[in-house]
Amino acid sequence: MSTPMQTMVVDPLDNTAEDPTRPTPLVLGGHDFTSLTDKVCGIAETPRPPRAWYIAFAVTSSLTVMMFAMIAYLIFKGIGVWGLNNPVGWGWAIINFVFWVGIGHAGTLISAILFLLRQKWRTSINRFAEAMTIFAVICAGIFPAIHVGRIWVVYWLFPVPNYQAMWPNFRSPLLWDVFAVGTYATVSLLFWYTGMVPDLATLRDRATKKSRAILYGIFALGWRGSHRHWHRYEKVYLILAGLATPLVLSVHSVVSFDFAVSQIPGWHTTIFPPYFVAGAIFSGFAMVGTLLVPARKWFGLGELITLHHLENMNKIILATGSMVGFAYATEFFIAWYGGNPNEAFAFVNRAFGPYAWAYWIMVSCNVIAPQFFWFKKIRTNTLVMWILYIFVNIGMWFERFVITVTSLSRDFLPSSWDYYKPTAVDVLTFLGSFGLFFTLVLLFIRYLPIVAMAEVKTVMPAAHVHGEARPVGDYHGDIDGGGTTRASKEVAP
C-alpha cells in the first residue's frame, strides 16, 4: 500500500512506471510548443558550442584525415598493405562494411517500422537515429569501394557502358549488394531530409543572421506549414515508411547472401538473412544508445528523450540480442544435425579453434551482456546501459570477424589453411572510419535540428484538438481516406 507514496516522491523525470490506464507522457518538464522549439533550436543556434565539442571535433576530424591517408596509401601501394593472405581473401574491409551497414538499420527501424506500428515514443529519437543511419552507411560504403583494389575502375560495379563492352553479372550477390546498399543510402537520405524540412523552416524563421536565414531557407525549400502541403507530406511520409520497411529487411538479407550463396562451410546456411537482420537491429540500437545517452545529458534533452525512451530501446536490445543468441545456438544444432562433416568442423573450429578467443568475446558481448536488461534497475540506469551498449558494439564487430575469418582460414583443404592477422593499415583505417562517423555526428549536432520538433509537438497534449477520439496528437495519423473524401464531397461546389 506504500506504492502511491512512492509515486509521489520519484524523480519528476522518471516516466518509466507503467500505468495501463493512461498513456505514458512522452514529453516531460511541462514544455509547451514555444519552450520545446527554444530548447531544440537552441542547440543549433548557440554562437559557440561547448568546449568539449571543439575537443571532440579535433580528435574525430584528425582520425578522419588519418583514414583518408590510409586509403591513399592503400591505393598507391595496393591491397597487399592489408593482412589478407591466400585463404583469407576477405578481411577487415568486409567485416567493417557489414558492421557499419548493420548499425544503420536501427535508424530505419526507428523511423519506419516503429512509425508503421504507431509507436509514438519514436518521435523524440528518430531524427538522431536516422542521421546515424546515413553516417553509418557512408562509412560502410567506403570499404567495398576501396577493397576492389583498382579503385579507378570501381564504376564496373554499376551497369555503365565501358570500353570492354562488358556488363556486370546480375546473378551475383555482390552485385545485388551494390543495388541494395545504393538504394538504402538514397532512400534513407530522402526520408531523413523529408522529415527535416519543416524543422529546417523553423530554424530559418528563427535565424537572426542573414547568412543563416539564407542557408536554412534554401534547404527548407520554402516550407511554410501550409496544411494542404502537410496533407501530401503525411501521405508521402507514410509511403516512404512503407517502402523503407521491406527495404531495410532486404538490405541485410542481401548482405548475408554475400556469404550464404557461397559454398564455404559456416556460410552456406539459410538462417543467415533473418539472423543478420536481427543482429543489425541489435547493433544499431546499441550504437543509437551509445550516441544518445551522452548527447541527452550534455544538451539537457532528458525531458524529450526520457528514461521511458531509453528503457524501450533497451527492451528491443534485449529481444534482438536474445534472437542473435538463439541463432548462434541454431547454427550449432544444424551443423550437428545436418550431418555434413565440413559444416560440423567449421563450428567446432569457431568455438575451440585458433580463433576461439574471438568467438568467446562475441558470445560474452552479444549473448550474455544484453541479458542484464531483464532487470529494470539496469534498463533505467544510464551509466550501466551505456557500458552494455559498448559491449554490444564490440560483440557485433567480432561476430562479423568470426563469421568471415574462421570460415575462410580453415576451409575444405587443410593444406591451404592459414592464420589471418590484420596489419596496422587495417586497424588505422577502421579507427579512422569511427573518426568520420563521429565527425559527421558532431556536425549534425552543431548545425541541424537533432530532435524532430514538428513530430514531438504532435505527441504533446496541447496538440490535441478537443472532441477528437484519440487521447494524444497523432503525427502523420490524419490519413483517413473515407473521412476526407466525404468531407470534400460536402463542400464540392
Binding site: 550477390p173 511554410r224 508521402v236 513530430e455
Partner: protein
Amino acid sequence: MSAATPSAAQAADRAIYGLLVEFEHPEGLVEACRRVRDEGFERWDAYTPFPIHGMDRAMGIRETRLPKLILLGGLTGLAIALLMQWWMNAVDYPFLISGKPLFGLPANIPVTFELTVLCSALTAFFGLWGRNGMPRLYHPVFKSRRFRRATADRFFLVLEASDRRFDLRRTQEFAASLGGVHVQQLEE
C-alpha cells in the same frame, strides 16, 4: 452575389494577397477552418507548425493522388530492372557462369526489388515537392513578421484575395469574427 462586385474593386485589391488571421491554439484554428469551409471559400489555407488531426476534414481537402503516381513510379522501376537485367546478361553480353540460366527470376529478383523501391521513393520525394510547388523561396506570407512563428508555436489562416468571395471590407469583418488574436493584411 460576390460576382456582382465589378472589376474596379478587384483592381483596387490587386496589391493585396489576402488576410492573415493568427490563432494561439490549434482548437481555434480548426473551428475557424470549419467556418471558412462552410462559408464557401475556395482559395484559402491554414498554416501550422505541425499537422493537426482532423484538419483535412475541417478544411475539406481532397485526398491526394500522389499514391497512384508513386505506384506508377514503382512499376516503372520494376520494368526497367527486369528489362535491363535480361538485355545485359542474356542478349547483349551473354556469358555462362556456374551453369546458371542467363535470365531467371530468382537470381534477378533482388535487383528488381531494389530498383522498384528506389523509383517509388524518388517519385514520392519529387512528387511531394512538385505537387507542393516547392522549392519556392518567396511567398507573400513570409512578409509578415508574425508569420515567423508559424513554424514554431502559432497557427495561421489566410483568406486569399483571388477567391471569388473575397471582398476586402466584408472579408475583413468575417476574418475578425473568426476568433483569432490578430488579423493582418498581406501584400502580394
